[in-house]
Each structure stands twice: as C-alpha cells, then as structure tokens.
Symmetry: C2
Subunit: 299 residues, 2 copies
Amino acid sequence: MTTTIDGRKVAQRIRTGVAEDVARAARLGGPVPGLATILVGDDPASTVYVAAKRRAVREAGMRDFHRSLPATSTHDQVAAVIDELALDPEVSGILLQLPLPGALDAAALIDRIPVGKDADGLTTASAGLLTRGRFGLRPCTPSGVIELLDAARVPLRGAHAAVVGWGELVGRPMAQLLLRRGATVTVAHEHTPDLAAVTRPADVLVVATGVLGLIGPEHVKPGAAVIDVGIHRTDRGLRGDVRTAELDGIAGCITPVPGGVGPMTIAMLMVNTLQAARWAADPGTPPTTPPTTPAALPA
Amino acid sequence: MTTTIDGRKVAQRIRTGVAEDVARAARLGGPVPGLATILVGDDPASTVYVAAKRRAVREAGMRDFHRSLPATSTHDQVAAVIDELALDPEVSGILLQLPLPGALDAAALIDRIPVGKDADGLTTASAGLLTRGRFGLRPCTPSGVIELLDAARVPLRGAHAAVVGWGELVGRPMAQLLLRRGATVTVAHEHTPDLAAVTRPADVLVVATGVLGLIGPEHVKPGAAVIDVGIHRTDRGLRGDVRTAELDGIAGCITPVPGGVGPMTIAMLMVNTLQAARWAADPGTPPTTPPTTPAALPA
C-alpha cells in the first residue's frame, strides 16, 4: 500500500501558519514582512511563477514589492535595483527570478543580495552557512522536501537517503539538509554508472534530475519514501522524474506530480521571508541552528 | 598486492613545485607570497604545528609572518590582529591555529579572515564558494586527499566513494571535492547503523572519524583505495582510523599513518598561500573553477 504525500495540504498548512504569525506580529505592533520579487524580461513561465509568489505574499498578509525590468537590462541596471532593495528597511526578502535573459551573470547578481534578505537561500553566503551548520535562510525546494518527509513521518536519523541529481538548487543543499538530520546520504548523478545499485538500498529517495521518468521500480527499495522534484510538461499532462504509477505497491510513500514538491517551494519562500524579517529585527540570532528548516512554525 | 601511498613524497613534490613557482615569480619581479600564522596560547601540539607550517613557508621562499597571543586574549584582541593582517598587502594568507583556548568563538574569528586570504579554506565564505563550484581556497586536508588519489592514479569519475565522518574540516568538503570530480559519494557518520554495508561498495574510502582503528577488512571492498585521515598517539606509535595491517592484500592502495595524509595538509597550505597571492594580484580570477585543487601546479 503506497501512500501519496499531499504537498498541497502540507504547503497550505505552512502558509496558514506563516499568515497567523504575520498577523500576530502585526497585532503586537511589529513590522510587516515584505518580499521583493525582481523579474527581468517577460519569459512566460517566469511571469506565471512570479505572479504566484506575489499572490502568496499578499495572502500571507505580507507586503508585496515588485520590480519588472526589460529583457535588455544591463548587469549594472539589475544590480542597482538589487542594491536599492537591499537598503530598503521595509523589504525583508529579495527574490531574483531565474533564469535571467541574455548574458546576465545570474551567480554574480544573486550574490549581491545580502545574506539576511536571501529569501531563496541561493547566495554563496547562504550556501556557506548551510555547509557550516550556522543560522541562515535555506533553499526553498529542498527545505520543502524535508517538511514533506516530516509530514509523512518518515524517520531520517539513521536512514539511508539517496539524492539523485547534484544541482545547485536542489541536490547539493538537499544532501546537506538530510545529513544534518542524521541520514546517511548517497549522492548520485549523471556520472553514476549503475544508478539502481546506489538507489536500491535507500530508505529515502529524492530525485531531482530533470530527466522525465528516469526512476522506476528497479531503482526503489520496497517501502521507501520517494520524493519527485522533477516536473515536465508532456502530452499526458505534468509528469516527474519518477514513473509514479509503476511504484504503486512498492514505495511506502510518494509525492505526486503535480501536487507534491511543487507547492512546497512557495510555502518555504513565505517561511524564509518571515524568517528574514525576524532576523532583521533581531540580528543576534543564534550563530548555529539546530532545526533543518529556518523557521519554527506553529504545528 | 596493496600499494602504500607515500604522502611524504607527494607532499614534497608539491612543496618543491610551489617553491619553484615562488622563485620564478620573484625573478620576474612579482610580489613574494606571505603567510601569517596566529597562535593563541601555548598548547604544545599547536605550537609544534605552527612551527612546522612556518618552516614550510620559509622553505618555499615565502614570507613568514607570525603573531603569538596570550591564552588570556579576548575576542576583540584576536579580532584586531586578524583585521590588521587582513589589511596588510604583504600578507597573502592568514591562518588562525585551532583549537583556540578558553571561550573564544573560533567560528566567528575565522570568519573575520577575508575570503581571499583564507589559507586554510575554513571560512563560511570559502565553504559557500566550494558548494557553488566557484573559485576559492579549499580546505587543505581534503584537497590533499584528492592530490594523493591523483598521485596513485585512482580514477574518481564514475567511482563510488564513501566518506566516513562528516566533520567541518574534512568530511563535508571532502564529499564535495569528490562529487566535483564525478564520483558518486556516500557520506556515513555516527548515526549510520551499518557502516560496513555502506563502505563495502566503495571504490574509494576516505576515513575521518577520529575513532582509532574503526575500519577493518569487513568495511573494505577488495582493490579499494583507502585514505586514512585519522591520527592517534598510541603506546605502539601513531595509528589512524584504519587497521592498516589487516588490509594488506585487500585494499588496492592505502595511506600509512604517519606519512600519508598528514604531510599533505602543510603542502596544500603552501599551495593555498601561493594561490591567495595570485588571487590578490589578479582579482579577475575566473568565477568558476574547474580544477579541484586551487592551484595549477607544475607536474
């Protein structure tokens, strides 16, 4: 019997928790957190994503700052917008929507975001804080995966986890978050010669490869928790990196696509924005952080 | 037939290469790299280590800066010394010898070292650069392990590597350096319930646990490369985390203790100091770094 992990439900619970925290702080006269989204160009998918993020910000009772820049913007023009938002005390978090058009250097522009406003957790400074186990904002998708595993009551300490894919946005921080929770972690990637051999011992399998339907029954230990981070548009609708239907009765629990990891990314962005606002209000935040996710949320 | 990897020989080759590079640059009228070591207190082991590092600096033809501070120094006093060295253009690299006495906050003091002078590669900023695959100075011991594996012609791309121990100084950066070289990497630690089950599939086994003699034949795949980062003083002399004698005829190659990984740490510190000097001279260093080790050394 395979359980489906309902990412929409978990994401909604987290977003409601953030909204309650924001409302409570506002009643006490505290500052209202605000997220600034920056969209360069008019890529259709990016436009949709940014709109969804802004809607979530408003639904959480936070302030929605937004900057649209033309696709022809220069590095210095984008940098100037980031610098201005970095100095604005009403802006708690800054999100630069990726990918950037043209020859813009995404890594350099992201690293202009101050670590305390790094709502996406993607700066080099945030990566360093995660590696060193210090307080900081964590990348949204992998911290959302941890929330899903916790919601499904999957034990992590002492578990063997396999992370397939070693990208900057998911795989690398995912491995570190799982290690921090006490899992033994194997990271596999395109140079792994026998993928099934390294994924089959895993109690927890997180797949973030961008390869449609890569993972099937041959890769999965019976009873394992399977988290599918992939998302692909196909003729038969959205599909992931996992051949989910084939794992029915094999996986212990599994995330669907859509409705699994996807909704968690925005939920964790809300958590990070709230957390950034708290961090700004109290810079004496503990130098090390025991919890995996940045915010202690109401249950 | 098990081959012993001669760390002293590899380290000497690297140190000679650094000395030749330093001499060549000096002939061209370039600046001479300099390393500043900071020793707080008079811990006997730290005193010996710092003396060895200073000797290596002088042997490489680099400038030896050194500061000794009393064990009673305050955070602000140590910080002031770091800040002064950070501003000194003749100081290419700064090394704060660990452990620090008393209640000094090592993490905070290390993070005062500018990323460009982080000769030990231990700052949060350097950890972030490593995670993101960008140019930076890498921690000396794990980059020394990569050099040993290369010297022993152990293939890494497509290999399965197991790293036992997830400490900040070795295990975490080690896993990332191995991944960057294309290995599939498993990280095990004290919460791993069945260590042999995760180490036995490994073609490359790096052990950095601080547990004397933890690893024996039951953990090792025949023909595997075994790197022992542990060092323990025992009644029978120095020993590592690996029961080396028991692996004779099982391991394909193995590092001895002493004379394996140990000498590499100082060699890589020399590489980092040279690299820091080059970085300072040409801040337009490439934003991403393909090689694992920070310096392209003469063969």
